[in-house]
Subunit: 339 residues, 4 copies
């Protein structure tokens, strides 16, 4: 049967009408690359949003955004501490190894103290302290966290403060993969500043949330902007018609469309969660649900037109998006409840 | 005064209406990345166009397209023979060094036998034969040519046959940077197959010619497609909403829009050339003009609203595009003639 | 007190008198780099030793030897399956990431089926099969095993046959880190051919076993020798007075000095083991012992002049070498037995 | 006939007796890697020699020494300005591209103002100023000069002061390739400090001058030592028996053996030069001679047992070394004079 109720991923969602509109409005010729009038607004717009000075660059993918940000803080012989299930480790085809010229991802598992794929200072210390200053071992240069995490959990401002203090003390950079930053921020109360508290860089995702092809690399040390711009060019990510990317981002920021879209997706996730009971593997804070479901259960749901990914042998992952229909979410919650 | 008659570059041109249309039509959700129905058509469409089996991948920039293609034939310890003024050498911010992991660009100047930044087998041989099999010197793995060349010249089928034979004999790959492939093909008579005769790979440019953000990596050894796909992902160029890029390319191929657009630009260039007389530094075959003009001449033209780049101290470069207005081209030709 | 009975590591041992002799004999001028008469003998000598055609190159460290061998089979976007505790993962300062341009080490733990840091086809399959052909995940290009393993265990010919068959079936290269290859070969009965059965490349270690600064990269596909030679030069490992390295290796091969030295070290290890009883964490097959010893026990041993490394909180590692004195080994065994 | 009078290169010369002696004296076991008592002396010994604080690391080749030093000042997206005929460009098999992760060598020809392959501030400025701050072009991060130059010329203290001032003004590092630093220093009067005036790093060559396998990376910003040590390990150049390399270097420094050996080689070169008249292509300052000689002339010399390399079609290169016999030099000078 035709799939009519999609919960596979937010990364194939449609482009928001306001984004389309902004792109069309950018059609008239302007300076190429990032010399256009729209790209020129990014630094200021993001500085306003976060309440601290930053530089912002558009790129076409979250993978590139993460890697360019990390390149400002990690040298080729260094390492990046991240969770064992971090997207940069398991889903980016080795991009960090490429962009960071062989730097190492140093994996921290939940057993190190966090939960839901979140990192803690204690967990990181347990990983890196035993090898400190050992020339035979790659030394960490940065920490990478994901907001919301790979299991849809959010870092609170307090948790971020602790990570920031730890990173500073150890001389490490602190990067945030924000593919679903909007969903985390919406959950945390809507403050971009709080949701990115204390990080040195943020890959701010818009594509899963209504844009077509534009993410932002946000650098809270604006002096790193030059390095990131040379690296972006070198990676083939300096598009000559950059105005269309800037337009997408500006449209998403305008009137907090980014928050509005995320809030919609989060609400849909909560609606589904309401039917899941103790099947939930993780608290639902953003727009992803990890639900214990037997093979037969999953089959039953698919027979009703719900599309989603298996998560191992006994669970499934559901993802909502800015354009998830409320009736679909409601139906899914009920369908799971009645299994 | 406001610039009203732009000849700076084709890379900031508007997006063609048919491309906009195709992108909008791709809006409904589909599989992410390149799993969508549009991306699935690329291999066949390009195979038809070139009359030989090939694989085709979309990417967002010509820089990425060139580098991914070269990565199929050049190992990190090898080199790429290209012209001293090749775009990959002078304008891509070191991207080949990044994508090819330190492989070397081996520069061949016009003094080696070509003209207008074109390469010849004799010129290449003069460069690489003296170092053959010397472990202290980087050995070439591939040749990269540009169609149309950096000075707007085209390689004929005969010239390409000679380069192909030479490359085969020396065990080298042959890559074509086709940022303005359409303009060259239009000049050569409209056959894509002839304009790319004998090359192993082609970075087929659409962005300067009416697209927004999609170029094609065309691999005439389809077995290399897998490698290129892993490298594309690794470079952060596998966009999750790839259907919008595929849509652009398909729109450009449909009804030979790519040729029609290029023919328009070429005609505008010829119109301008008709006023340049012996000021022309190179025959005008595609959509670029290099014109000897004193500083005073250039000032006079700019006072009339013509925008263009200086080319050294005594010349200027003019570029036409698919959306260049005929009255602008005509006016420019006359203005130069009357200097 | 002065350390008089050293069991820290074999990598600081003295140079064997016959190696010194051979180096002195190489002093008269000859062709530089690897163009000398001694380097010219390596291919044949190793082909004879292994009973199959191979190419052999000297390098100054095992790290370089492993990496150059892996570079013949792993592309930058690929991965190398190795044990979680493999030397290339934990002790080479990120060298594989450097030499392989960001390729990924894919870690297989003992829980995947082997023991003593040995890999099995089943364990590898469990790691790589679930991600097969997923462009978002790094794909394996090679397997790296260590002979003797990081816990002093040896792969038998039968085990190597199984790994070879598995690697062939999956299209993977099979590399052997042989930093202590001699000790494994001596344990397995003295056949170099059996101890390296079915591998595509071997980093044959001599430095821990009596040489000063020469290891051999042995490539069982001699066609890869050219690539390895260009990579060796590129890595700054093509020494201009290479004859002194070749001399070391030839001296070690002459009259099977490599086996004789290893047999001595192994015998010393067995002598120690005879006093360890069930304190042994792993069977002693080569020249390393991992012994459960409390902090007080270790202190007591050190007070008797024995030098060794702690192995976590409750154990110690002892390593014997070609120049370990028999009375030292005997004394150590007795000292442990009497704890 | 047997070659009896060798002038091919200094890089295949014998090892000096005092170096042998020092190596043998280092045979007793010590800490591995660079933890031994000899390696521990290097920083102080070189600081004394140069009269300014520095850190010094041994490595096995000049290629590695140059690359590790450059890695302390050049990021992967940057460039190194060097002469068109610099050794790092033409003779190191692409090693800088490897060690610097694709950074670009930016070539400065003699036409830019220097002579004998020496660089000048004016020549460098002409190369780099036109591309300043252009994101499409690789930006320079460092300058690399060679002392003595590829044509045997020396930089005076005054010239080095000018280069230092220029580099500082442009924010560039200044590296010196000193494969024949001893010969330049001997020519300039014997002061190591003057011959390396104002540089940030020096690859101090000993191998061509009497050592076996040890060069020194000298970093005049000791804070860079840590980075260089991690990079050395990562490149497979941290030998476990490093004491034998330290011993070589210390023996060369002891009693200024390095200067004595170089003075001998220089004197032999001057002796030959005295017979060359206006055949000399470059003034003879160090231990290399470039001499205009027809094919017949070269044949005549070779018939007399002189060994040397052709230098293009109409010239030859002769190199003297610490062990060049005075009668050979004298005979060569006379033989050329009588052609």
């Amino acid at each position: 049967m035709t799939v009519t109720r999609p919960f596979l991923s937010d990364n194939a969602a449609r482009v928001h009408p306001k984004v389309w509109e902004a792109m069309r409005a950018a059609d008239s010729a302007d300076n190429p690359y990032d010399g256009d009038a729209l790209s020129a607004q990014l630094d200021e717009r993001f500085s306003d949003l976060f309440g601290r000075e930053c530089a912002a660059l558009w790129v076409a993918t979250g993978t590139a955004a993460n890697c360019l940000a990390l390149a400002t803080m990690v040298q080729p012989h260094g390492g990046v501490v991240c969770h064992t299930e971090a997207h940069i480790e398991v889903d980016e085809g080795g991009a960090p190894g490429f962009y960071l010229h062989g730097a190492k991802l140093m994996l921290c598992a939940d057993s190190h103290g966090g939960e839901g794929a979140k990192l803690t200072p204690e967990g990181i210390a347990a990983l890196i302290d035993p090898i400190r200053d050992d020339v035979h071992q790659v030394q960490p240069h940065a920490i990478a966290i994901t907001q919301a995490s790979e299991y849809g959990r959010s870092y609170t401002k307090t948790e971020l403060q602790a990570l920031n203090a730890f990173a500073k003390e150890r001389g490490l950079g602190l990067h945030m993969d924000g593919a679903r930053f909007a969903n985390a921020a919406a959950f945390l109360g809507g403050s971009a500043a709080d949701a990115a508290h204390g990080v040195d860089s943020l890959a701010f995702g818009f594509i899963k949330n209504g844009a077509m092809s534009a993410e932002a690399v946000v650098l809270f040390d604006p002096e790193q902007a030059s390095l990131a711009k040379y690296r972006r060019k070198r990676a083939g990510h300096l598009q000559c018609k950059g105005r269309y990317l800037a337009a997408q981002i500006l449209a998403m920021l305008e009137g907090d469309l980014w928050l509005e879209n995320a809030a919609h997706a989060n609400a849909a996730a909560r609606e589904i969660a309401s039917g899941c009971g103790d099947r939930l593997m993780h608290p639902v804070e953003a727009n992803e649900l990890f639900v214990c479901l037997s093979g037969a259960d999953r089959e039953a749901l698919r027979a009703q037109g719900f599309a989603f990914y298996d998560w191992g042998a006994d669970a499934a992952r559901f993802v909502t998006a800015w354009d998830t229909r409320e009736d679909h979410a409601s139906a899914l919650g009920k369908a799971i409840a009645s299994l």
